[in-house]
Amino acid sequence: MGTVRIRVKRYQPEGGAKSYYQEYEVPYTRGMVVLDALNYIKDNLDGSLTYRWSCRMGICGSCGALVNGVPRLTCATFLSSLRQPVTVEPLNNFPVIKDLVVNIDDFMEKLVRIQPWIVRERERPIEEGEYRQTPEEMERYHQFSLCINCGLCYAACPVYAADKGFIGPAAAALGYRYYLDSRDEGGSRRLEILTEGAGAYDCTFVGECSAVCPKGVDPALALQRIKLESAMNILSGLLPRRVVGRPK
């Protein structure tokens, strides 16, 4: 059984404001993921190592980190696929609280800002029954509902890097998920929320958000379609004739 070298970026606010790298040697067994190595380090080598994790199976979204420079879930990244020394750093674009733990308040604020709930002009009373949806209608937004809020997409986005005001991939994808939901009546108001300020139009279609998403969401697609729908919407408002292609 060999060992693997793990290089972790450390930062302790109480120890002065400089970050530094610390290298550990971790015994390697087949099938180990980066999170296993971090847990070994914390349990056996250095109890001060601080990081987030929970489900260890790629569904809670807690364990996001930069692994060899790429935003990954540490629980879903096999050591066998990585070049040594395996470098683990906190996610890009977020303020670092300690070691690998980052402050995701901005991310959370944006998720809420886009109103991630069914919006109705008129709520149906319970007696009128449930809102029904065909499998085809569900399929339209299904992909965008798979987000686990891990924040990897924000870490990969150079637009967000340059402008923290940018609405960002996950929030846009979530907003688009509700826009596409046949039960939702948010319509063009949703498009306005998604494009105001440093909104969807600030996206330059780099596409790295979709490349790093561990759940197969395509936020880049959502952002481009938001631009297109919003633009067609505004155009049809400016022109006297009706423009075909309204979604519902």
Binding site: Y11, P13, A17, K18, S19, G69, N92, F94, P95, V96, I97, V102, N103, D105, P158, A161, A162, T204, F205, V206, G207, E208, A211, A220, L221, Q224, R225, L228
Partner: protein, 136 residues
């Protein structure tokens, strides 16, 4: 819970040192060369309006090694724009031929074919019919 920024703001440009992002930056930078072409072309038209000798002189200048090199670089970037554009657009608006969705490499190939056809038509009909005579 408070978060303290560790590094000063230059870390905002971490992406400038990653190959994937550099390819994207080049894609965006192709726009500078496209703008250059528009400016050169407008200058050409302006020299044309000025009369034969001014126009000929400008054409001669364009043939000089540094400007010819620039023109080739512009052409290369224009093609890079085309290729990356053909890879981007189908991701947003899938192409449909008949009832089939055309994706990935097939979409790129189809678009490149359309590029060749469009180029041929535009040369033959507008730019220089003598280069590609359409009838006889």
């Amino acid at each position: 819970m408070s978060g303290r920024r560790v590094e000063a703001s230059p870390s905002r440009f971490w992406w400038l040192r990653r190959p994937k992002y550099i390819a994207i930056l080049l894609r965006e930078a192709s726009s500078i060369f496209i703008l250059l072409y528009v400016i050169i072309y407008l200058q050409l038209l302006s020299q044309l309006a000025g009369g034969g000798p001014a126009y000929q002189a400008f054409l001669k200048a364009l043939a000089s090694p540094p400007l010819m090199a620039l023109s080739l670089v512009i052409l290369a970037f224009a093609l890079y724009h085309s290729i990356t554009w053909f890879m981007l657009v189908p991701k947003v608006q899938p192409l449909r031929v008949g009832g089939l969705r055309v994706v990935g490499m097939w979409a790129l190939a189809l678009n490149l074919l359309l590029l060749i056809i469009a180029s041929t038509l535009v040369i033959a009909l507008i730019l220089d019919p003598s280069l590609i005579p359409l009838r006889g």
